[in-house]
């Protein structure tokens, strides 16, 4: 039985990765999870210089999900290269670095810093709803998606995954734009913009007022967007959004995802990534699936 998948020429031992921002650079979770078992670790977004992020409170729980507005706090690319990459290199897993910025130049600066680093893939965050400039501003206009993708592709030494925002009318428009710009893969969905109000104190639950919603409540939205995008483009898609169980991950793969990222579920169960890998394996045994690749996009009419 073969659980491996090919992502832009990079072979992952299985399709399970971590969703950016929920797993740091793996150090904290390495006390609970054997990182060697993961298909890849996707790091928290890193920028050209350190970012302080938003004021607190930065998170709030909602029914079946949570809101976050961390604001991409990160230590900057220099410390990241000095500390986080060497840490991840100790493990037999693939390294995907998530990149954030306010301007095209800032993204390019990070991508160039990473060009000689032992990093397998780059995931470009053009979809963070919690920073004022950059982030989502790039991800909601197809022309800008195409332009920034082209510019990053021109400077990147590693395959480029563009991470798309669900906060758009037509996800396939953005998926096509990224593909046209030369993206090697797509990942989706980033969080859905939401708001929570504390009715007792009559104030916003988050200091940023709005936050990105994640968790099982957004899963069906993510499955739909992965399916639609898989129909629209021919590059691989990494599916994420509310994956809590192996069943959720398999659903995403059947919708058309080549690999999946697990995010919020790590907070609910720090060992969840390994449990999802085991669960996918059991599913493959039960249905006698020889290769995981058979499942990618295998959904059909009843």
């Amino acid at each position: 039985m073969d659980m491996s998948v090919d992502l832009c020429g990079v072979k992952l031992k299985n399709p399970v990765m971590t969703a950016s921002g929920t797993f740091g650079s793996g150090e904290e979770y390495s006390e609970f999870v054997d990182l060697n078992r993961l298909g890849a670790v996707v790091t928290k977004g890193v920028a050209n210089v350190p970012w302080e992020g938003n004021p607190t409170p930065r998170v709030a729980e909602v029914y079946g999900g949570m809101l976050n507005a961390i604001g991409l706090q990160n230590p900057g690319i220099d410390l990241f290269i000095e500390r986080d990459i060497p840490f991840l290199k100790k493990f037999d897993t693939k390294i995907i670095v998530n990149v954030c910025g306010h301007t095209t130049e800032e993204y390019v600066e990070v991508v160039e810093h990473l060009s000689d680093q032992p990093v397998d893939l780059l995931e470009i965050n053009i979809s963070c709803p919690n920073v004022k400039e950059g982030g989502i501003a790039f991800g909601q206009n197809p022309q800008m998606v195409e332009e920034i993708t082209r510019e990053i592709r021109r400077h990147a030494k590693q395959p480029v995954i563009m991470k798309l925002s669900p906060n758009v009318t037509d996800i396939t428009e953005m998926a096509r734009a990224a593909e046209a710009g030369g993206a090697d893969a797509l990942s989706m969905i980033n969080t859905i913009t939401g708001m929570k109000i504390d009715i007792h104190r009559r104030c916003f639950a988050l200091a940023n007022r709005t936050g990105g919603m994640s968790g099982p409540a957004v899963h069906p939205v993510a499955v739909r967007m992965v399916y639609q995008s898989a129909q629209a483009v021919s590059i691989p898609i990494i599916g994420m959004g509310g994956i809590m169980t192996a069943e959720d991950a398999i659903e995403m793969i059947l919708a058309g995802a080549t690999a999946v990222s697990v995010g919020t579920a790590n907070f609910t169960n720090p060992r969840v990534t390994e449990e999802i890998i085991d669960g996918i394996k059991s599913y493959m045994e039960r249905y006698r699936v020889e290769s995981l690749k058979e499942l990618v996009g295998a959904v059909h009419e009843r």
């Binding site: 929920t22 350190p50 992020g53 930065r58 998170v59 976050n68 410390l79 720090p270 060992r271």
Partner: protein, 256 residues
């Protein structure tokens, strides 16, 4: 690195010790053996729609029997769910988390305000020095105060003056003319802010336990940061993680 454990703990007993304030004893194999005063645990809900663990401070550690006592206030549906746990029930818990207090042999103030009082109890048990324990409550509905009496002199302040000194913990300190060389404190931000100022004015070492909304509880998600005076080595900005570098900080190293 301090070791953390994930366990399915068994509820030994639970009781309501004041309105909406519960005392929960759980049996753990590893966490109790490794926990220190001032650390906390993450308690996970059984109801699947509640995804995030609830950080709860450790009130007492029973190493001999592998027990942990958690005293918490019902603050929402998650803690309400915990309050319904009966003896024999199981609850998922991860810990011990955070740094805990640094125990010193100096004449000490142990100061707790409201639901910041519980973590001071294990500290009072473990500290080997002269202790003055100052507890601040809203009104005469006190909790845990009698249990502190075995470990030092206890002084009470209530906001409405119905018990002890009327006012806050500093009013009690002044009313009784108390002095100490080190402060350990946990409570609401205004109380901690006042103690930080008091400690600076009097040149006293001051340790405070901070609170912030958390998600992962182990230092990965960067939800629970507090502002720091100096650039933090991990974050590379003036932010420290309450769940990892804290919850206990030197008062002068954090800004709030």
């Amino acid at each position: 690195m301090a070791e953390k454990f994930e366990e399915l703990a068994r509820v030994v007993r639970q009781e309501e010790i004041a309105t909406d304030i519960y005392s929960l004893w759980i049996a753990t194999e590893q966490i109790a053996a490794h926990a220190k005063p001032g650390q906390f645990v993450s308690l996970y809900c059984n109801e699947g729609s509640r995804l995030l663990p609830r950080p709860i401070s450790i009130c007492e550690i029973d190493r001999e029997n592998g027990g942990l006592r958690l005293v918490y206030r019902i603050a929402g549906e998650g803690t309400r769910e915990f309050s319904n746990l009966c003896a024999g029930a199981q609850v998922k818990v991860v810990g011990p988390l955070g740094n805990g207090f640094v125990l010193q042999k100096k004449r000490a103030f142990l100061i707790g305000g409201g639901i910041g009082i519980p973590p001071m109890l294990e500290l009072a048990k473990q500290l080997d020095c002269e202790k003055q324990i100052v507890l601040g409550y809203r009104d005469r509905e006190l909790f845990l105060e009698e249990e502190f009496e075995a470990y030092g002199d206890v002084f009470v302040a209530t906001e409405d003056g119905s018990e002890g000194t009327k006012g806050n913990v500093l009013d009690a300190i002044r009313a009784h003319g108390l002095h100490a060389d080190v402060i350990y404190a946990c409570g609401p931000a205004p109380m901690l802010r006042a103690l930080k100022e008091y400690a600076a004015e009097n040149g006293i070492e001051c340790w405070i336990s901070m609170e912030e909304r958390m998600a992962c509880g182990i230092g990965a998600c960067l939800a629970c940061v507090c502002r720091s005076k100096e650039k933090d080595a991990h974050s590379n900005v003036k932010n420290k993680r309450v769940c990892k570098e804290g919850p206990v900080f030197r008062a002068e190293e954090v800004e709030f």
